[in-house]
Amino acid sequence: MFSKAHIAVMTIITFVGVVGFLAPSAHAETPKDFLNSFQKEASGQPFSAARGETFFKTKHGSDWSCASCHTDNPAISGKHAKSDKLIQPMAPAANAERFTDPKKVEKWFKRNCNDVLDRVCTPQEKGDVLAYLMTVK
């Protein structure tokens, strides 16, 4: 009923359709990608790992700093300040999953900056922190 050519074309179209459907969910970013997108949003100075480190370890007027849960050494595991729940390392060199999922990064920056700073973090601050985390081995 169907010619070989017919079947070949239908197969190719199905394959392309399936791959096209799956492609967006297979999309993962790298820490460098995040750094670039923060840089685009931050029209100011280039990022500074040193500034990021200070920012990470300072209390900004409330009880917690980033280090309160993530510890002073982002290469090791931390724990939640209240529940003691284990938190995997933040440094990409120590944990390949960090800064690969845009939804996850956005969610945790929103929550944690609200807790630590009572506001959102600026793209400059996010970039500085990420620059710092990328230097930690």
Binding site: D84, K85, N114, D115
Partner: protein, 188 residues
């Protein structure tokens, strides 16, 4: 004659043992309300004297656990089984996630809705009061299950326990929604 007596005795003892073991297994339902093994006390299931009718559900955790709930709600603590609180408590909690016991635990609208629907659908089906507490550890059923008759008050001072919200400190399989008596190990 002596040897035959021994055999009969042996068979009788074995039978008694088998009976006791079988009875124990037969009572081992999922919803172990304080059944402390072979000789432990049995709490009454139908105790409507719970203050304000605050009773946890017949099932604490449903057979089908929503994946998003499990992932998102275990980021900082164990994913508390929905059957431990009434639907209204879960609705209130999910509506105020940015002020979740002192932390911002907010989710995007889609995730929030999916998780809320799951919690509400599987909330306690035995809660007869109008109350909707946010803290599981302040409900009547919790206070009764963990009162001085059940637990030595010194346990709460143990730094390994830290807080009544830390189920996993004693309930070794709490993260799986399993609170069976046999899986409790109170830390020293």
């Amino acid at each position: 004659m002596k040897i035959i007596d021994f055999k009969i005795l042996f068979v009788i003892v074995l039978t008694l043992l088998a009976m006791v073991v079988t009875m124990s297994i037969a009572r081992a339902d999922d919803d172990n309300e304080g059944y402390g093994g072979w000789f432990g006390e049995r709490h009454s299931e139908s105790r409507d004297s719970e203050r304000g009718g605050e009773k946890r559900g017949k099932s604490k955790m449903p057979a089908q656990v929503n994946a998003k709930f499990k992932k998102e709600c275990s980021a900082c603590h164990i994913a508390y089984p929905p059957g431990l609180l009434p639907a209204e408590s879960w609705r209130k909690m999910m509506a105020g996630l940015d002020q979740h016991f002192g932390s911002d635990a907010s989710l995007d609208a889609q995730d929030s809705k999916e998780i809320t629907d799951f919690l509400v659908a599987n909330a306690s089906n035995r809660w007869s009061g109008a109350s909707a507490p946010l803290r599981i550890s302040e409900t009547s059923w919790f206070l009764r299950e963990h009162d001085g008759h059940e637990i030595n008050p010194d346990v709460w001072k143990n730094p390994k326990v830290k807080s009544p919200s830390n189920c996993g400190a004693c309930h070794t399989k709490a993260d799986q929604g399993d609170f069976k008596e046999r899986n409790i190990r109170i830390p020293k």
